[in-house]
């Protein structure tokens, strides 16, 4: 069912090392209980697309929160803040895990949440969602949307992302849904094959859906990479997946 009323607002949560960071939350009107979803924004920024995605989850009956991984980079237009993040090599995985844990804990503390929390991210956020699900065990389901650099090359070990996420697969704590475009180059189909082989080797609960006619970021309706049929099917799979694993 669709919830016609919702509350959406900016909040401050405790991020990594209990440092305050900004976040945007949206939830249906009413006492709940609602399942929770944490959204990890993509490299192009904590901007309008992720605000809308947060409200989309609220529209579908979830209490959702999108935290600002770029909070420490300063105030500014999301494009400019994202450019600064790009120049600085993105955010450190350790800091991201701490910030995301803060968002998970914030949701779990809300009286209207049913005790279940899922995690979703796209692009760099897809990688980060997978990393989080391998390093923490406090979420119930994770969705990785075309996560770039889950398979990091041998010469790609920057200080902020020192460990290739694929090597963490054995520690994946919850069911994983992955959506990928077969025309993508980051991750390439071959990298998705490696990702899937590792999940199989460790007997993890996962489902990958790989779309023909789509590349990277095929949900982004404001970009030329948008693919309507694949995006609609992908959203159906996300809501079926979270519906199954986050029910109260």
């Amino acid at each position: 069912m669709a919830y016609e009323g919702m509350i959406a607002e900016s909040v401050t949560i405790n991020g990594n090392n209990n440092e305050p960071i900004s976040a945007y939350q949206a939830r249906p009107m009413g006492p709940g209980p609602f399942p929770g979803v944490v959204l990890i924004h993509h490299l192009p920024g904590w901007g309008e697309f992720y605000r809308e995605m947060t409200r989309k989850f609220a529209h579908h009956g979830y209490a959702a929160i999108s935290h600002n991984l770029y909070h420490r980079l300063g105030e500014g237009h999301p494009d400019d803040v994202a450019a600064k993040a790009r120049a600085e090599g993105g955010v450190a995985d350790d800091q991201m895990v701490g910030d995301t844990h803060g968002a998970v804990a914030w949701l779990r503390a809300q009286p209207y949440v049913n005790g279940k929390v899922g995690l979703i991210g796209s692009c760099s956020g897809g990688r980060q969602a997978f990393v989080y699900a391998c390093r923490r065990d406090d979420i119930d389901a994770v969705v990785e949307l075309w996560g770039g650099r889950v398979v990091q090359a041998e010469d790609d070990r920057p200080a902020k992302q020192p460990v290739s996420p694929i090597t963490m697969t054995k520690d994946l704590c919850c069911p994983l849904l992955g959506l990928f475009g077969n025309d993508d180059r980051a991750p390439s189909p071959e990298q998705v094959d490696q990702h899937e082989a590792e999940l199989k080797a460790h007997k993890k609960d996962y489902a990958f859906h790989r779309y023909d006619g789509a590349g990277h970021g095929f949900f982004y309706y404001h970009r030329p990479m948008y693919r309507v049929e694949q995006a609609l099917d992908g959203w159906e799979k996300i809501f079926a997946f979270f519906g199954k694993h986050l029910a109260g």
């Binding site: 450019a83 120049a87 990479m225």
Partner: protein, 96 residues
């Protein structure tokens, strides 16, 4: 980030952001998803001053072909400028 193609060089000059002109201290060239140009990926050039915050940024998002053409234009203009500079330096010496 989905690509890690980023090149950073010091830069000296001035750039214009939404807030007006600011002193540029750095140029960042990357290949990534643009926020505005209708491209899947593109060359993004940011002239920035990190000391002044994220808003001190003059940016362009270009196709690869445009970026190559820009490099050619820069090289031709710089070569011509260096000839001019050399001429300017030679005049006082000849006069003496």
């Amino acid at each position: 980030m989905c690509t890690s193609i980023v090149e950073i060089v010091p830069a000296e000059g001035a750039g214009k952001s939404f807030e007006g002109w600011f002193p540029v201290t750095r140029a960042v060239v990357s290949y990534d998803h643009p926020n505005h140009a209708l491209l899947d990926d593109g060359i993004i050039v940011d002239f920035v001053n990190p000391d002044l915050g994220p808003g001190a940024r003059a940016a362009v998002e270009l196709t690869l072909e445009s970026a190559k053409a820009l490099v050619g234009a820069l090289e031709r203009a710089i070569a011509a400028a260096e000839v001019e500079e050399a001429e300017a330096r030679r005049v006082p010496a000849e006069a003496a």
